[in-house]
């Protein structure tokens, strides 16, 4: 047991050095020991699983065409899609991770919340309606609209698969660890359950089932977090000032928790992180795919409006919950004991408590707080919700990965657009099963690795490869296939290389004494490189194909602006 807590403590202490990626990380990292079996949580999670499998059965009977499978027939409303986007985006990392960050560091947690949110308005203003008007099932439909299909689709599919894979590994390992901690179940079983369920949701129910799993999860998470925040504020007469005041009294860092700390030190890191978060959000394939599930541009816009509202509200809740955790977990109870802290550590420190003494690590702050405000039943509920959260996110990721293979690689690159709809869906389902099985194995293989950097890597790739080609294809008439391919690959490769040479991977993961590149987040450099690459290799491209592509811009432009000829909703 001891080693877990020291590792969590070390993780919390190293947070300053490891961030930005640590805040993007899966919920739990480092070694974890199985806890006693938590029956309330298991029963509630079982109810969630049964309900979602019921929905999958219902969705399977309505999923017939490719449009049903990839885009839920285009019949999701803006409000539903807003909830589903929120469900897709609010990962266990943002719930447990940010609440834990606020609990340990106070104000600094808010900096991350803000960064995770501000990409959404930009998606709305610049991307959402064009994406909806031009695309069909994947963002590659849009990026390759007037270009040579094979090179662009291959690039977009590689960007999608890389993003999805790194994201999935982090989620699988996080799920396994979380389940050990929360449910007292074996890591192996946890990873297998997640893998099997995500295969079931996606192969049978396609986008319709995935959407409803995400909606249910979003509603559960938002209501659970609201309840916690209200209970916390109620203890202080709904005065945030009173809550903050009490928190500064019990937290070891005192008034410092109300000030920005060492999380963001130099402006290069700060801006780089900001860019990766903002543009990464706009390049995540599983998020972009959600825009094809609504009927038209009008509903697509509404989706972002509702999603921004739900996600923003959620971050305000996690901030409150984090401060609630400080007060509730670091104050002694009636008998003078600290029920949520490691008793041995508290005794060793002579009763001077610090946030790092928490049982199970700082990422458990929100979960313990649930116990403190709502008792064991509510603790079980929040544990089940945390696990449901992971399921909803992996389902979306799996569907995006499967679509990249079936719709982009198989139907467009391999079959040159001559594949039948049935074949395409079959390939998609086979890919889903393969992705599910591979994720289970990767989850097992990476059990004892630090996977925190992988979500950061996923965001960096999305921001440096997917986003630039998508944006430029819609906005810049003179982009050519050559420019897009060169710029996209430059962004993709430089993001990976710079991240590997940076402090997070080179020093912390690979154990080298000093990083080759001092910056944690490669965003500023790799994103710039991608845009410069697109520009340079486009303007120097004088081929006939390039001229045709530039000429085709007008037709694309009209469709992107007016929706003339855009994909509609299917009849049923």
């Amino acid at each position: 047991m001891r080693s877990i807590f020291t590792r969590f403590g070390a993780a919390a202490a190293a947070a300053g050095a490891l961030l930005p990626t640590a805040a993007l990380a899966a919920a739990v990292e480092g070694a974890v020991t199985k806890q006693s079996t938590n029956y309330e949580a298991i029963v509630m999670f079982a109810i969630f699983v049964l309900a979602t499998l019921g929905i999958t059965y219902w969705a399977a009977r309505r999923t017939k065409s490719a449009k049903d499978f990839y885009a839920a027939g285009g019949g999701i409303t803006g409000f539903q899609n807003g909830l589903a986007i929120a469900g897709d985006y609010m990962s266990a990392a943002s719930f447990l991770g940010i609440a834990g960050l606020v609990y340990a560091n106070g104000f600094d947690g808010l900096i991350y919340s803000v960064g995770w949110l501000v990409g959404w308005p930009i998606i709305l203003f610049l991307i959402a309606e064009r994406l909806r008007n031009l695309g069909k099932y994947t963002f590659a439909d849009v990026a390759s609209y007037r270009f040579q299909q094979t090179p662009i689709r291959t690039l977009a599919a590689c960007g999608s698969l890389a993003t999805v894979t790194f994201y999935l590994i982090a989620q699988m390992v996080g799920a396994g660890k979380l389940i050990q901690l929360l449910f007292g179940m074996d890591y192996l079983y946890a990873v297998i359950i997640v893998g099997v369920l995500m295969i079931a949701y996606v192969t049978f129910g396609g986008m319709l089932a995935t959407t409803w799993v995400q909606i249910i999860k979003a509603v559960l998470l938002l209501s659970g977090a609201s309840f916690m925040a209200i209970m916390i504020l109620a203890k202080f007469g709904f005065s945030p000032e009173a809550l903050f005041k009490r928190a500064t009294e019990v937290h070891a860092n005192g008034l410092k928790i109300m000030q920005p700390g060492a999380l963001v030190t130099d402006p290069i890191s700060a801006i780089s992180l900001g860019m990766a978060l903002m543009f990464g959000t706009a390049g995540l394939p599983h998020i972009l795919m959600r825009f094809f599930t609504v009927a038209d541009a009008k509903e697509a816009r509404k989706s972002v409006f509702y999603a921004t509202g739900f996600i923003g509200y959620f971050y305000l809740l996690t901030f409150t919950i984090g401060f609630g955790a400080i007060v509730l977990l670091l104050s002694p109870d009636a008998s003078g004991a600290f029920p949520f802290l490691d008793a041995a550590k508290v005794a060793a420190a002579g009763g001077k408590v610090t946030p790092a003494m928490i049982t199970g690590g700082t990422n458990m702050a929100a979960i313990h707080t649930a116990n403190a405000v709502g008792g064991s039943l509510f603790y079980g509920f929040i544990s089940a919700v945390a696990f449901a959260t992971i399921l909803a996110v992996v389902a979306g990721l799996t569907l995006a990965g499967a679509s990249a293979v079936s719709h982009d690689l198989y139907a467009s690159v391999f079959a040159k657009g001559r594949a039948s709809e049935r074949d395409e869906i079959r390939v998609s389902k086979i890919t889903t099963v393969i992705i599910g099985i591979v994720s289970i194995f990767l989850g097992i293989a990476f059990e004892n690795q630090n996977v925190a950097f992988m979500v950061g890597l996923a965001f960096a790739i999305a921001a440096s490869a997917n986003f630039p080609i998508l944006l430029m294809s819609m906005f810049w008439k003179r982009m050519t296939t050559r420019g897009a391919v060169m710029g996209g690959w430059l962004g993709l490769i430089s993001a990976i290389v710079l991240l590997v040479l940076g402090p997070t991977v080179w020093k912390s993961v690979l154990g080298n004494p000093a990083p080759i590149i001092p910056y944690d987040n490669p965003g500023l450099f790799s994103i710039t490189l991608a845009f410069v690459g697109i520009w340079l290799f486009s303007i120097t491209d004088n081929s006939q194909a390039a001229k045709d592509e530039q000429r085709a811009f007008d037709a694309q432009y009209i469709r992107s602006q007016t929706g003339l000829g855009a994909e509609g909703a299917s009849a049923h």
Partner: protein, 100 residues
């Protein structure tokens, strides 16, 4: 489709839609970027200011500024959706109608 496209390109209403909507979208984007990077630069350079308590309490200026950044994202999306789904979509409908 080709003839439609040409009619749309020639329609002054289309030019009007593009000009208005682009200006609006870019203005709001710039406002969002200024608010966000303003906040980030304050975090990098203005720690002192963000960490100053408001009045005699413990709540620092950083809290309302951070919350304002979050709320502004929501409000800006609301402003855009309201105008795009109303005024701009009506103009768009007329353009598509006239192109037939």
């Amino acid at each position: 489709m080709q003839a439609n496209a040409q009619r749309i390109l020639d329609n002054p209403k289309f030019q009007e839609l593009i000009a208005k909507r682009s200006a609006f979208a870019w203005t709001l984007s710039v406002i969002m970027l200024v608010i966000y990077f303003g906040f980030i630069l304050l975090v990098a350079f203005g720690k002192q200011f963000l960490g100053t308590p408001i009045g005699s309490g413990v709540t620092t200026w950083g809290v309302p500024i951070g919350v304002f950044t979050i709320v502004s994202a929501f409000i800006l999306t609301g402003i855009y959706v309201r105008r795009a789904n109303g005024e701009f979509d009506e103009l768009n409908r007329q353009i598509l109608e006239e192109s037939k």
